[in-house]
Amino acid sequence: MKKKSIRKKKGIDWMSIIPPWILLAIIFAVWEIAAKTTGISEYILPPMSKIIHGVITKFPGELLPHFLLTVRVIVLGFIFATILGISLAAIFSQFNIITKAVTPVIIWLVITPMITLIPLMTLWLGYDPVLRTYVVILQATPIIALNTLNGFVNVDNDKVELAKSVGCTRMQRFTKIVFMNAMPQVFTGIKLGSIFSTIAALSADIVSGNAGLGFKISQFTKYNNVYMSYGTIFLVGLIGLTLYKIIERIERRVVLWKN
């Protein structure tokens, strides 16, 4: 196989790993000290140690099924949204008029909070956790499509001319030039899509009730388990962050030509 010299140069980049952990430690420490010294009520500011301890002890029993449900909704919805978003953008970008026509519609869909559709969707589809996956797909697809479409339509004229000069077919031009050229924007879309997916899944949990981490957060709050509310919120953040980081990793492996 051909050696990829750029990849070889990349070792572990400590400079991008250590500082966030230090910052996180500082935030946790300040939080802990503030909670213990300022006398603010534990219902508003529970100590960080209690939050973390609470989540860890309740995770295997109480939280795990909800965690699994929400993660499944996020991941499934996100994967479908990615496939759908990129495919739609690929189709739209083939025709200038369609691109122009759909762009405002896509932006409109990006802005619309899809959880508002849950009561309606419940009417149509009945009660089913799968519904939440649809919500995630609806929420994440437009932002992925929007960024991808932007990438697909903004190709350097030079590169289009190169394609003409060697007589690329439409398909060759798309796969070898347009798609590759858009790769950074495609990944921006996918990363935003992962964030939208996480937010949408959580909101859907809260609106639908009865299961999922979002549901647990509202339950904990309702019964004054404030430290567990915080803990579960952090857990959700962790899911989103992990997903984002995984995508970033993939991006770095794929988009080798950018630094």
Binding site: I6, L162, K164, S165, V166, G167, M180, N259
Partner: protein, 275 residues
């Protein structure tokens, strides 16, 4: 002498421009980029087109290569009129290799992948052509960059890669749009001499665009001088200097008189425009 013999054997010109016009319509204005342009280039010829920026040099060879379409007029390749109403056939495009003003490498491919791109598009991805690509890569000293991405290579290496990419499918014609204009003089001279030796060895036809008078005289059999507004041919100057050419010739009286004549031509053209 050599040229005379060639002309007898090959009576059909390799490339013909007949009364070619190109008009660009932008929102604000109409630009006559090329007006009534005529040119005949024989097989194996080395022709330069020279003139101030914006006189339509790039437009000319881009039309020939099918990147853009002429507004009117005819272009013939090997005596056959090109049908500019639709994209050229692969058979036609394969006869030409286009070298852009900037390297125009695709950043997501390694240098080798960039160089062999035409082979993939033209359906020539055979061991034979791959071997030829390797040969070109080593002749041009690109081995050490072959598996690097364009961002990792120097400007000179990239420009060479652009030349190699245009040659990899063994075209009969090279169209070069100020190929070494962005490089420093030393490197440009070196690449020009390399180009001459390639041209001689492969017996290809070259249309070379430049705004450097010395470069044009050094390389060409004939030089087409153009002017702007509208972009048009002013004069064709045949360069009757012996071959092989070398850099030392630049200071010889005959060379100097050619460059002087061209500078005068271009200068007077520009003066006329100022009035």
């Amino acid at each position: 002498m050599e040229e005379l013999v060639q002309k007898e054997v090959q009576t059909i010109p390799k490339i013909v421009f007949e009364n070619i016009n190109k008009v660009f319509h932008t929102r604000k204005q109409t630009i006559v980029a090329v007006k009534d342009y005529d040119m005949q280039v024989d097989q194996g010829d080395f022709v330069s087109i020279i003139g101030p920026s914006g006189c339509g040099k790039s437009t000319l060879i881009r039309m020939l290569n099918g990147i853009i379409q002429p507004t009117s007029g005819r272009m013939l390749l090997d005596g056959i009129p090109l049908d500019t109403s639709k994209p050229y056939s692969q058979e036609t495009l394969r006869k030409m290799g286009f070298i852009f003003q900037q390297p125009n490498m695709l950043p997501w491919y390694t240098i080798r992948q960039n160089i062999t791109l035409p082979l993939k598009i033209f359906g020539l991805d055979t061991p034979e052509y791959q071997e030829y690509a390797d040969e070109l890569i080593s002749v041009t000293g690109l081995q050490k960059f072959a598996d690097s991405y364009p961002i990792e290579a120097s400007g000179g290496a990239l420009q060479r890669a652009g030349v190699v990419r245009a040659m990899v499918h063994k075209p009969e014609i090279l169209l070069m749009d100020e190929p070494f204009g962005a490089l420093d003089e030393m490197l440009r001279e070196q690449l020009n001499m390399e180009l001459l030796s390639i041209w001689k060895r492969l017996n290809i036809t070259i249309i070379f665009i430049t705004h450097n008078v010395e470069e044009a005289v050094l390389l060409s059999n004939s030089i087409y001088v153009m002017a702007t507004e509208p972009g048009r041919l002013v004069e064709k100057v045949d360069i009757d200097l012996p071959r092989p050419r070398s850099l030392e010739m630049i200071t010889q009286p005959r060379f100097v008189s050619y460059t002087q004549r061209l500078v005068d031509l271009i200068g007077s053209v520009e003066l006329r425009q100022i009035k």
